[in-house]
């Protein structure tokens, strides 16, 4: 099976589809040496993300091993993750400062 999605970091809970994926078809991605698949439960546009696991409402979406923000609704595995169900949260800059 041909890879049609990319996992950027082993900790990620989404992959990015590099082709259009229709509902009911397989999303195929590589995790290290392993080839993994899941079934898309809705149409995923080119370059968009699909949830690998069930993400609860208010849960974090992880890509590049980092948080992209929080979900505004529960996103079950196989569903489309986009600006419609994911929002950015303000940063806590002061906590990021190093002691000098």
């Amino acid at each position: 099976m041909e890879v049609n999605a990319l996992l950027m970091d082993p900790a990620d809970n989404v992959v990015t589809c590099v082709t259009e994926v229709s509902a009911g078809t397989a999303v195929v991605y590589r995790k290290g040496e392993e080839m993994l698949t899941l079934t898309a439960l809705e149409d995923i546009p080119y370059c968009h993300k699909i949830a690998l696991v069930d993400i609860p409402e208010g849960g974090e979406v992880i890509k590049y091993g980092e948080s992209l923000g929080k979900t505004s609704e529960a996103i079950p595995a196989g569903h489309w993750v986009s600006h419609n169900n994911l929002f950015s949260v303000p940063r806590d800059y002061d906590s990021e400062m190093l002691p000098l």
């Binding site: 950027m8 990015t16 370059c47 948080s67 992209l68 923000g69 600006h83 950015s88 800059y93 000098l100």
Partner: protein, 386 residues
């Protein structure tokens, strides 16, 4: 690595040898356009600001104008002013002459008695300067003379996955060879600033990177605005970038992994060699304007959705890893990096290939935006016009 460039008495070598026709303010812009169209070897700047402004904005436009004049790709400067602007042509000329030994002349439209008389004098001056510029021979320059600006625009998900990592690899390779690279667009560090700050060469630089992001958000808040309202753009969202954080985490990869040795204000010239960052807007044209004012002699530009932008002084090289965009917009795209997304080449391999591409641009190969003669400028503002 070496390239054939134009050595300057001060600072880095140029990879182009333009005569720059520079307005003091918006009122001189159209005359500059006409003058540049009459003289081969001349380029003009369209400036939408420079007058009727608060002091901080005037300082910003002066930094851009003097920075443009001092850019290594400029042989000499012909300034056209109006006469009643905040910083008149003679004053701007003196400022530039204090910074560089390049030839600089200036004219004022009100003093000369209107557009045609000014244009006539400016064309003669530009023609003489272009004739002299054409006599300057290229010399072999070490790659340490290169200050490569790294920009992205019209990003989509392929940017963070493929084209930005490839350009990050290019940046690492160039820095290892002794060149300098500059990444900007600080609003697109937000959400990834903690990752970027890990590259800081010192704890002070770490905190400067965080502070730049904090200040940017607070600046917009003070005007009742939210950075997350404009970022990501509708095009970014359609291209699969859902939040500012996602865009930023992809964006910062274009700067590579080498230690960040300096954090610069907009239009500021680096004092260190290696990887530096500049606090600019995420608006690509404005960011390029500030980086060119800061002395970058070449710009590499990653895009997902495709963009035509170009700068009159500095060649802008477009690379995309979106195969559809490359095919649809080949007129504007210089390099196809889609093999990374297809999985047939790694971002490291394609980053290494970009070293030769940049070498060609340094040696004089025109980028597509350059061949079209594009001259986009956007000067950032710290406050409304008055």
């Amino acid at each position: 690595m070496e390239f054939w460039g134009y050595k300057r008495k001060e600072g880095r070598a140029g990879i182009r040898n333009h005569v720059l026709i520079l307005p003091t303010c918006a009122c001189g812009s159209e005359s500059c356009r006409v003058v540049a169209s009459q003289v081969r070897g001349a380029v003009n700047i369209v400036f939408n600001t420079g007058c009727s402004d608060v002091a901080a904005n005037t300082a910003m436009s002066q930094k851009v104008l003097t920075g443009f004049a001092c850019n290594p790709n400029v042989y000499g400067v012909v300034i056209i002013g109006l006469g009643c602007e905040t910083v008149p042509h003679m004053e701007l000329r003196k400022k530039i002459q204090a910074m560089t030994s390049k030839p600089v002349v200036s004219f004022g439209i009100q003093d000369e008695g209107g557009t045609l008389k000014t244009i006539e004098k400016a064309v003669r001056a530009a023609r003489d300067m272009a004739a002299e510029a054409a006599m300057q021979q290229k010399e072999l320059c070490d790659i340490s003379e290169l200050l490569l600006g790294i920009e992205c625009g019209g990003s989509d998900a392929t940017s963070g996955i493929a084209s930005n990592p490839a350009v990050g690899e290019l940046s690492d390779l160039l820095v290892d060879m002794g060149a300098s690279t500059m990444m900007s667009e600080s609003i697109e560090w937000i959400g990834g600033e903690h990752v970027l700050a890990k590259r800081a060469a010192t704890p002070e630089i770490h905190n400067q990177i965080i502070q730049v992001c904090k200040d940017y958000e607070e600046h917009l808040k003070a005007a009742g605005q939210d950075c997350r309202a404009g970022q990501p753009t509708p095009g970014n969202k359609a291209g699969g970038l859902s939040t500012l954080d996602e865009k930023s985490l992809g964006c910062i990869r274009k700067g590579g992994t080498r230690p960040i040795v300096e954090v610069l204000a907009q239009g500021e010239r680096p004092t260190k060699t290696g990887a530096v960052v500049m606090d600019t807007a995420g608006y690509d044209i404005s960011s390029i304007t500030s980086m060119v004012a800061g002395g970058c002699n070449a710009i590499i530009f990653t895009t997902g959705r495709g963009t035509p932008t170009g700068n009159a002084i500095v060649p802008v090289l477009k690379v995309t890893a979106n195969a559809r965009t490359y095919q649809k917009m080949e007129d504007n795209m210089d390099v196809d990096l889609s093999a990374i997304v297809a999985g047939t080449k790694s971002y490291k391999e394609m980053g290494a290939e970009l070293v030769d591409v940049i070498g060609d641009v340094c040696n004089g190969k025109l980028t597509k935006a350059e061949a079209f003669g594009f001259s986009d400028v956007a000067v950032d503002h710290v406050c409304r016009f008055v």
